[in-house]
């Protein structure tokens, strides 16, 4: 089938402002949005730039705004979008070129919540075991692939880029509720900030955007509750 990709282009070396460019592409209905982008890049216009790697929704490289909603280009089929496909870079992060944005502020926030095991106990002789029930508590938030779909769909983040954003909070949840980790207090105080968890307005855009279907707002509410329990 023939579809039209309308893509927001921007080359920092040539353009003052971003502009839309149309491409007609011959694709199968079961192709991914990414397949169409590849056809454009490889056979029509090699200047089109976008990130992609695994093409299976695991690496989280190709988050973009597809017909107004943040999605991974590799996880959306053409047949589910239709023949007019408008693509823009994700919002709230500086556009470097075409669909490529500067992810550094996003990863800086990710690093700020200390996304690694904190446990100063002497090294165990075997694995730190965890019960099925204890694993279950944070199972949902382990699914995050750091694609930034959620954070860049969050109006609170658009308004104020100082906000940690849903993704960093999801990652904080993943460690705070892990029974093997001892850094919960430290991390709870990091997110206990005007620009941390309290800037979440339960708008739910993040939940709609998440390609891994993580219940992000629920995780954030659990963090709020954990903070209240800690202090009250």
């Amino acid at each position: 089938m023939k579809v039209t990709y309308k893509i927001l282009r921007f080359d920092p070396e040539k353009d003052k402002k971003p502009y839309f460019k149309d491409y007609d592409v011959e694709v199968e209905p079961t192709d991914r949005i990414l397949d169409g982008l590849n056809i454009i890049k490889w056979y029509q216009d090699s200047t089109l730039s976008y990130r992609r790697s695994c093409a299976h929704g695991i690496c989280g490289s190709d988050a973009m705004e597809i017909n107004g909603v943040n999605k991974l280009a590799c996880k959306v089929l053409i047949q589910n979008v239709g023949s007019h496909i408008t693509i823009k870079p994700i919002r709230g992060l500086r556009v470097i070129k075409d669909l490529i944005v500067d992810m550094e502020p996003f990863f800086e926030k990710y690093r700020s919540i200390k996304p690694y095991l904190i446990n100063d106990d002497s090294l165990p002789t075997h694995e730190r075991l965890q019960s099925v029930e204890d694993r279950e508590i944070f199972d949902d938030t382990t699914k995050c692939i750091l694609c930034a779909s959620c954070t860049s769909s969050c109006p609170s983040f658009w308004w104020n880029s100082m906000y940690l954003g849903p993704s960093a909070l999801v990652q904080a949840h993943r460690f705070i509720f892990d029974s093997r980790d001892h850094g919960a207090d430290e991390r709870l105080e990091i997110v206990n900030d005007l620009n941390g968890i309290w800037r979440c307005r339960t708008i739910f855009n993040c939940v709609d955007a998440c390609p891994r279907e993580i219940k992000i707002t629920k995780a954030i509410e659990e963090l709020k509750r954990a903070l209240l329990h800690k202090h009250l």
Binding site: E13, L77, I96
Partner: protein, 271 residues
């Protein structure tokens, strides 16, 4: 060909195989707990190639001489824990065991080593390569050569291969390498030039493909993921050894490192 997973039930599939289940639902629109799943071969894993010791140090020769300061772990590396094949959860060992060991050893190395003097203008080589690519005015495109490379390697140098196929692949590679010198970039920009990136990558792919094909021609036996239709038996007398490839101008030199058997004897895979 179909894979029937319906006996596992929705709960087991969602809990134990969430990613695969999600792939099937997303890309095929099939619920694997209700219907069988059509299957086909795919490149699932890269069986490394960079020889390392158990600390992730890259080794240079048959005598296991490490190249100081260079480490490799994961899919790129060959530690040879599981022989010549990629068995289930090999990659977990790569990550959890050898990733950790490499990291620890690298940290120790850094502590005990000072900076060594750099050669004069170490960037010259890669800069020349890049400016050649920028100034190329030929008629070939990166995407077309890569597609031909992919198809040829799939057809002639896949798991099942024989002399005739491999020679075809070798010849095709010669042709593609020649054509690669004639590529032109459509994107001349300096920032985030993904086409330049793909062009560089294609050059490396062509070289690696040559290593793969030529060492497969040499190895007249079947072992692990290398199955020669014309030499279908494993030959421990002649081939119980690792292939080491060295770049020598446009050619590749092959040397061999013996396999040291300690506890486990090589055995035929029976599953």
């Amino acid at each position: 060909m179909h894979l029937d997973l319906t006996h596992l039930g929705k709960k087991v599939l969602d809990e134990k195989l969430p990613d695969i289940t999600d792939f099937v639902r997303t890309y095929l629109g099939i619920d694997p707990s209700v219907n069988p799943v059509p299957i086909q071969p795919t490149a699932h894993y890269t069986m490394g190639g960079i020889p390392t010791d158990v600390d992730g140090r890259v080794i240079m020769d048959e005598k296991n001489t490490p190249l100081p300061g260079l480490y490799a772990a994961g899919e790129c590396a060959t530690v040879s824990v599981h022989g010549a094949n990629r068995l289930g959860t090999n990659s977990l060992v790569d990550l959890v065991v050898f990733g950790r060991r490499s990291g620890k050893h690298a940290a120790l190395y850094v502590k005990n080593t000072d900076f060594i003097p750099l050669p004069k203008k170490p960037e010259d080589g890669i800069q020349a390569t890049i400016s050649d690519l920028y100034s190329g005015t030929g008629t070939e495109s990166v995407a077309k050569i890569r597609l031909e490379l992919q198809n040829d390697m799939m057809d002639n140098a896949s798991v099942y291969r024989n002399q005739k196929m491999l020679i075809n692949a070798k010849n095709k590679l010669l042709e593609l390498k020649k054509r690669y010198k004639n590529i032109a970039l459509g994107d001349k920009s300096k920032q985030f030039n993904m086409e330049l990136f793909e062009a560089l990558e294609l050059g490396f792919l062509l070289e690696l493909a040559s290593v793969l094909v030529e060492s497969a021609v040499n190895r007249t036996e079947s072992r692990g993921a290398h199955y020669r239709e014309d030499f279908s038996k494993r030959d421990d007398t002649n081939w119980l050894k690792h292939t080491l490839a060295y770049k020598a101008g446009d050619k590749i030199d092959f040397r061999y490192k013996p396999v040291v058997i300690t506890k486990y004897l090589p055995k035929e895979r029976k599953y």
